[in-house]
């Protein structure tokens, strides 16, 4: 050729042709194409010819040229699958230990997955029962600090917001406001109960949420003042089986009473609801224009839960973007700041509320834990699958001849692949049945533990049914994938000769699997240790107040009127050391108040951060053993006009005073009080140790304080409690006496973490057990393979110890690599979790080394159980036969 041999047609096009073209045609067609190419090369040049060539190759994709299916004989695949099942079953029975380990691992993995799946599914199903669930949002207010960062988030808004949102924005279909009154007594005839909430709601509630009415209708409901809707169980409580409609209940709070007419009964709030209210009373009752609680145009008073429903398919972001402008329009400048620099509104999707509870909200679970459990569930399952892969490929030698014969008889790669996939699916099926059984057995205790009502009935839960089928396929295909590929690649001659094939016992892939398993195990061990230590840390860390031997119960106004008498009566018992009344007790939330002002040399300065308060009496500090660092406590109750304030050290610092001493005597205006700082106390963790200590202010006025805290000596506690109850009943014969121990309340704050710790321990244990079973199987197989070698070593004088050392050494590298991989991963996630606590331990070198060592010890013990057997066996047994 004139232009030289370098001008070949594109090689990839050639390869493509060869790939799709049947062998019969490939050579001829390629020849023709190339001849044409050379022919065109002289006429049109390189590029056009090449393009033409490529076009021709694609043009060749015609039926006549394509590869035909290799076998035109139709296989009787059903018979083949029958055979696969039969062989699987026989193999399972023949290798009882291997199959036992395999099935046990898979079953536990499946059981874990099922339980976790139903838990996670349950967690994700909250608040979805409302017709407009996807269009409902809760209004959330945010306070910003001086740097414009969000300092505090509330799930309550001021009453104005709900109104303005629905009136000014077309996108908002409607809104509903909840005004919650706490702890009333409700009476009906002879019956009377202490209720925890009584809600005043707007009639628009029925346009936002969906409720099923048992009595009454949503039309015009709650438009009249002094009407109320009850939930089914509440109606039953008061009226038993008689109809509730039209009956009148009496609402009593602080000596006042009002009559409410029942105009409807709705079904109880479902379990899967973030809110649960028993009384829905009409908003007009409080919003009659004269009531001081009615503040439609008032921007303060952030005590109203507000929900909005927006137009379907409209974007909530559009609304959020308009909020700063709205706040600036309706709210006067706050001390020369535009309102939008100080506060903001955003919207939380109804269906997100349960999982992403914001501070102070009712949500109990956390998206963090749900994600964590989901990850653990999948990890356990994957570890079980890896076990299967490892064990199935490790014992490949016992299947060599079978595969060889199958191949000789005409089985292709594909058939062998199918066979092993069938086998793994068979195992997965058995594991599913066993795992489902295990899950059913453990479900009651899981329910008891999580306080949920999970069910594993696939007939009730379509998602579960689908996931079960998916699970079998997933486990079957994933676990079977590697063995299937591995076995189908075996060389026929090698397989039949039974000699060592090149795909020997040390395959890289299998090493990777073992390393992965161990990395997961080490990470889980690390997290167990870290979680355990953090919880210990929280329990032993000094919160700054005394929490031992402290009893709390609610006071009634009747008792409070004669507080001194009540206290003296209590103190007459030698086992009662001190008593104090306060509005709230440590471990609960502090009260939020309106604005506060400090006065520096006469000029008032608004306090621009949240300064929550608690009202206490003169004995509070001594009962709780809170240390005064400057000034003095409250000697006696003061007049209500001028207050004495006690601050904590953080408040002093944030208010800009250099030292506690400097704060003493400073004038403060707080909500409706004016007074002077008379004392400063050491910081203590009033609310919880999840958050850092906040500034707080304490005062003592004569108004009702709900709680009494009693310090007891600790001897003869039941009698002491009885003594308290007798006294309580004397004042309030109708009320229940419900004492609580502060240290229990303190512990309850970390219940979430406690549960997390228990669950993570359990699952880690399971994962570790499965991983160890896998290692056990692998080592026992390797020992069997190497039995001759080990026997020769023994004959030549190797000691048991040296053999154990040698075997362990082989795995030490893997464990070490696994350790290196797991550290950063575990460190990252655990640090993330620890950051959610204001006070937390640090993950140090010691901790990592400890958990690494623990993993190593577990691995070595596992290996040694098998290695020891081999090392101690009589060499003759394995050397005798050849």
């Amino acid at each position: 050729m004139k232009k030289g041999k370098s001008l070949y047609p594109p090689r990839w096009a050639n390869r493509l042709l060869k790939w799709f073209c049947s062998e019969e045609h490939a050579e001829i067609l390629q020849g023709d194409l190339e001849e044409l190419y050379q022919f065109r090369l002289e006429k049109h040049g390189k590029w056009r010819s090449k393009l033409h060539y490529i076009k021709d190759v694609f043009d060749m994709m015609r039926p006549f040229a394509l590869k035909k299916k290799r076998s035109k004989v139709k296989n009787n695949s059903i018979a083949m699958y029958k055979n696969y099942f039969k062989i699987s079953f026989r193999n399972m029975l023949r290798h009882k230990v291997f199959s036992g380990i395999n099935i046990a691992g898979l079953s536990i993995g499946v059981a874990c997955f099922l339980v976790i799946f139903s838990y996670v599914h349950d967690e994700l199903s909250y608040d979805r029962y409302h017709e407009h669930a996807n269009d409902i949002y809760r209004v959330v207010s945010e306070n910003m600090n001086q740097d414009g960062e969000v300092a505090r988030v509330f799930t309550y808004t001021s009453p104005m917001h709900g109104k303005v949102l629905r009136e000014d924005y077309a996108q908002v279909v409607t809104s509903v406001r909840f005004n919650q009154w706490n702890f009333p007594i409700i009476k009906y005839g002879e019956k009377q109960f202490n209720e925890s909430f009584f809600n005043f709601v707007e009639p628009t509630i029925f346009d936002v949420f969906s409720f099923k009415f048992i009595e009454g209708t949503p039309e015009n409901a709650l438009t009249e003042p002094l009407t109320v809707i009850l939930t089914e169980s509440t109606a039953k409580k008061y009226f038993e089986d008689t109809p509730a409609f039209g009956k009148v209940i009496q609402y009593v709070e602080g000596g006042e009473s009002r009559d409410f007419k029942v105009i409807g009964v709705i079904e109880d709030f479902p379990e899967h609801s973030h809110m649960s209210y028993n009384f829905l009373a009409s908003w007009n009752t409080v919003d009659d224009g004269t009531n001081p609680r009615a503040f439609d145009d008032y921007y303060g008073n952030y005590n109203y839960a507000t929900y909005i429903r927006i137009e379907r398919n409209s974007r909530i972001d559009d609304l959020t973007a308009q909020m700063p402008a709205m706040l600036d329009k309706y709210i006067d400048d706050i001390e020369s700041f535009t309102p939008s620099t100080k506060l903001n509104l955003r919207f939380q999707k109804l269906t997100d509320i349960h999982l992403n509870a914001t501070a102070g909200a009712g949500g109990t679970s956390n998206v963090y834990y749900v994600n964590l459990f989901a990850v653990i569930g999948i990890l356990v399952l994957v570890i079980a699958c890896i076990n299967y892969m490892n064990l199935a490929t490790a014992k490949y030698s016992s299947r060599l001849k079978e595969i060889g014969v199958r191949k000789v008889m005409g089985a292709g790669k594909r058939n062998i692949t199918y066979q092993f996939l069938t086998e793994s699916t068979f195992y997965a099926l058995i594991a599913l049945i066993l795992g489902y059984g295990i899950a059913l057995l453990t479900l009651p205790s899981v329910n008891g533990f999580s306080g949920k009502n999970l069910s594993l009935n696939p007939l009730e839960n379509g998602v579960l049914l689908v996931s079960i089928v998916g699970l079998v396929l997933f486990v079957g295909l994933v676990a079977g994938s590697y063995p299937a590929v591995f076995m189908s690649r075996l060389n026929v001659v090698n397989a039949l000769k039974g000699g060592k094939s090149k795909l020997g016992s040390k395959s890289l892939f299998r090493t990777v699997l073992v390393v992965f398993q161990f990395a997961v195990t080490t990470a889980l061990i690390t997290s167990v240790v870290v979680v355990e230590r953090q919880i210990n840390f929280l329990h032993t860390k000094d919160p700054g107040f005394d929490r031992e031997l402290l009893v709390n119960y609610p006071l009634t106004p009747k008792m409070y009127e004669q507080l001194d008498v009540v206290k003296n009566e209590l103190l007459s018992n030698p086992n009662i050391i001190a008593a104090a009344a306060s509005t709230r007790i440590p471990t609960t939330r502090l009260g939020d108040a309106g604005g506060a002002k400090t006065f520096h040399e006469g000029a008032g300065k608004v306090v621009d951060f949240r300064l929550p308060f608690i009202r206490i009496d003169e004995d509070f500090l001594s009962v709780y053993d809170i240390e005064l660092i400057a000034g003095e406590g409250f000697a006696e109750p003061l007049s209500d006009s001028t207050q004495r304030f006690i601050l904590n050290a953080t408040a002093v610092k944030q208010l800009g005073w250099q030292s506690p001493e400097e704060a003493i005597g400073q004038k403060i205006e707080y909500a409706w009080f004016i007074g002077f700082v008379t004392g400063v106390v050491q910081d203590f963790n009033f609310e919880s140790m999840h958050a850092a200590i906040q500034p707080m202010i304490m005062m003592n006025d004569s108004r009702f304080k709900r709680q009494i805290s009693i310090k007891i000596s600790g001897s003869n506690t039941p009698a002491t409690i009885n003594f308290m109850e007798e006294q309580f009943k004397r004042y309030n014969p109708d009320r229940d006496f419900s004492p609580a121990f502060l240290d229990e309340l303190f512990g309850a704050q970390y219940q979430g973490e406690q549960k997390l710790s228990q669950i993570s321990k359990l699952f880690s244990l399971i994962a570790i057990v499965i991983a160890c079973m896998g290692l056990l199987g692998l080592v026992s197989y390797t020992m069997e393979q190497r039995s001759k070698e080990l026997s020769v070593r023994k004959v030549l004088g190797a000691s048991v110890n040296s053999i154990l050392f040698m075997v362990n050494k082989g795995y030490a590298g893997m464990i070490f690599i696994a350790f290196l991989i797991s550290i950063p991963v575990a460190f990252y996630f655990l640090n993330d979790w620890l950051e959610s606590f204001a006070y937390h331990i640090n993950i140090g070198v010691g901790l990592i080394a400890f958990s690494g060592l623990l993993a190593l010890v577990i691995a070595v013990i596992t290996i040694c159980t098998q290695a020891l057997r081999a090392a101690l066996s009589n060499p003759i047994d394995s050397l005798r036969s050849e």
């Binding site: 023709d32 001849e35 022919f39 040229a65």
Partner: protein, 110 residues
């Protein structure tokens, strides 16, 4: 099983094979068709037609004659079979017969 119907393009291919005699292989047939009919069948379409003709039993093939310009690959040469010859003749006769039946008048009109 295939029908023995001869398509228009198939007929041209079959005729060209007849014309080329012993030199009838893919590229040669394509170039010959291009030269005589001024149409440019793609090589894919041509082979597709050849494969169909072979299935119908009108042509047979043998391999041989590798050249350097083909990268040393063999050619597949085609011959018309007896059945092919019969079909060609029959098609030709049918066409002539029909042609003769056209009255002269209609030609004048054109």
């Amino acid at each position: 099983m295939k029908g023995t119907y001869l398509g228009e393009f198939e007929e041209i291919v079959l005729l060209t094979i007849g014309v080329l005699q012993d030199e009838a292989y893919g590229v040669a047939i394509k170039l010959e068709i291009e030269a005589r009919t001024k149409r440019t069948p793609s090589i894919g379409a041509l082979h597709s037609a050849l494969s169909r003709l072979e299935d119908k039993g009108f042509i047979e093939s043998h391999e041989g004659g590798a050249t350097q310009s083909r990268g040393g690959r063999r050619k597949r040469f085609y011959n018309i079979t007896a059945a092919g010859k019969r079909t060609l003749i029959k098609a030709n006769e049918l066409r002539n017969e029909l042609f003769d039946l056209i009255p002269n008048l209609s030609f004048k009109g054109l």
